[in-house]
Chain length 222, copies 2
DNA sequence: GTATGATTAAAACAAGTGTTTGACTTGGAA
DNA sequence: TTCCAAGTCAAACACTTGTTTTAATCATAC
C-alpha cells in the first residue's frame, strides 16, 4: 500500500497545484483529495516543498531528457549546417505536449501544471525548476545559434524565452479560452502544430539592428 | 496622510506580489514593507482580494485603454486593408512595457507583476483579470484577422495567446536570466523590439493545413 | 477652545497552516 | 507464534493567516 499512497499524493498534488498554484494549495487539500492521512505527506516526502520537488522530478526529468535526446538525434542526422529550425523547435516544445497523451499518465492537468510552474515566481520553486531546465536551455540556445548565425547570442536566448512563454501560457489558459466558440483556440495536437510554426517563424525573424537608438546602445552593458 | 498610506500599500503590495505571488504574500509582509499598520489594508481596501483588484485597476486600466486607443488610431489612419502587422503587435505589447519608463511609476517590479498576474491560475484572480482583458483580446483578435485573412479565427486567437505568453514570460524571467553573461537576454526597449519582431513574424507564419493528420482531424471536435 | 469625522494603532479573534508526536495496525520473516 | 519494521491514524504542536475590535490620535470646522 505504500507505493499506492505515494502515487495518490503525487497525482492529487499535481492536479491541485495546477488549478490553484503551490502556495494556495494546503496539505489538507491534497490529502483530502488523495484520501490519505495528513501526516503521510511528511512521512513519505519530508515536507511540502519536497513534495513539489518530487513532482518536478517525476515529470520534468523524463521530459527534459527526451528534449535533449531528440536534439542529439537531430544533430547526429543533420549535416554541418545543423538541424532545421522547425525540428529544433519541435524537440523543445514537443515533449511536454506529448506527455499529455503519452502512456504513463499526465492528463490535461499536467499541462496546466507545467504552465503554473513555468510562471511561479517563488524563489525556491524557481530554483528547483531552473536546476532542471538550465541544461536544456543551454543546449537549445546553442542549436538555435547555429541555425540562425545572423542573430547574436543574447537575441537567441531572448527568443527561446519567448517560445517557452508562449508554450506555458497556452497550456495555462488554453482550457479557459476553449469556451470562446468559433474563435476558440485549438488544443492538443493542433495547438502543438500552431506553436511550432509560430515559434519557428518568430525565431527566424530578422534582428532589428538597434532601430531606435543607433549608437548609444552599442556600449557594453555592465 | 490618508492618500500616502493607500499609495504606500499599493506600491509595496505590487512589489511583493511581483516577487512572490499573491497567495504567498501575507498582509503583514505588505504592511511591514509599507511601514503601516496591518489594519490599514482592510480599512482602506476592505480585503486582501480587494487590494489586488485595486492594483489591477490602477495599472491595467490605463494600459488596456492605451492599447485600444492605439489600435483605434492605427485603424483610423490605415486604408481598407487595415493597419500593418507590426503596428498591431506594437499596440498590444507596447503599453505594458512603456509603463516601465513612463511618467507615473511602475518600475521594473511592475513588469514582473504583470507576468505574475498573466499566469496566476487562481480562479478569483483570473476572473478579475479576464474581465479587464477580454475587450482587448476581442479587439485585437479582430484586427489580426483582418491583417491575416489566410488564418482562420481560432488560429488567430491561439497566436494572440502565444504573444501574450511570450510577453509575460519575458517579463517574469527576464530579470532572473539577465545574469547569463554574453548570452543574457536584452531588456527594456531592446526587449520590446525583439518581442515585436518575434511576434509579428510568428503571427504571419503560414497556417499548416492539418499536416500530420490530413483527414482524420477534419471532423468537428466535440 | 471643543466637537467631529477620518485615520492610525495595538491587541485580540477564529480559522487554517505545515509539521510532529505517539499509539495503533499491518504484513511477512524468524 | 513472536517479532519487527513499515505504514497509518487521530490528535496536538507552535505559528501564521486575514480580519475585527476598541481605543487613541489626528486634522479641521465651528
Amino acid at each position: 500500500m505504500a507505493a499506492a499512497t505515494k502515487e495518490r499524493i503525487l497525482d492529487a498534488a499535481e492536479r491541485l497545484f495546477a488549478d490553484s498554484g503551490f502556495a494556495a494549495t494546503s496539505l489538507r487539500d491534497i490529502t483530502g483529495e488523495a484520501d490519505v492521512n495528513v501526516a503521510s505527506v511528511n512521512y513519505h516526502f519530508g515536507s511540502k516543498e519536497a513534495l513539489l520537488s518530487a513532482i518536478l522530478e517525476r515529470r520534468f526529468r523524463p521530459i527534459n531528457e527526451q528534449r535533449i535526446a531528440l536534439l542529439d538525434e537531430l544533430e547526429s542526422r543533420a549535416g554541418q549546417h545543423g538541424p532545421a529550425l522547425e525540428d529544433i523547435v519541435a524537440a523543445l516544445v514537443g515533449p511536454p505536449f506529448h506527455s499529455w497523451t503519452g502512456a504513463g499518465s499526465g492528463g490535461p492537468k499536467f499541462l496546466k501544471f507545467i504552465g503554473q510552474i513555468h510562471s511561479q515566481a517563488d524563489e525556491e520553486i524557481r530554483a528547483a525548476f531552473v536546476r532542471q531546465f538550465d541544461r536544456v536551455l543551454t543546449r537549445f540556445t546553442a542549436a538555435f545559434e547555429r541555425a540562425l548565425p545572423d542573430l547574436d547570442a543574447g537575441e537567441v536566448t531572448t527568443r527561446v524565452l519567448f517560445i517557452v512563454g508562449a508554450m506555458a501560457h497556452a497550456m495555462t489558459w488554453g482550457e479557459q479560452l476553449a469556451a470562446r466558440g468559433p474563435r476558440a483556440p485549438r488544443h492538443s495536437d493542433r495547438l502543438l502544430d500552431s506553436l511550432i510554426s509560430f515559434a519557428a517563424a518568430g525565431m527566424a525573424a530578422p534582428q532589428l539592428a538597434a532601430l531606435h537608438m543607433p549608437v548609444a546602445a552599442e556600449g557594453g552593458r555592465p
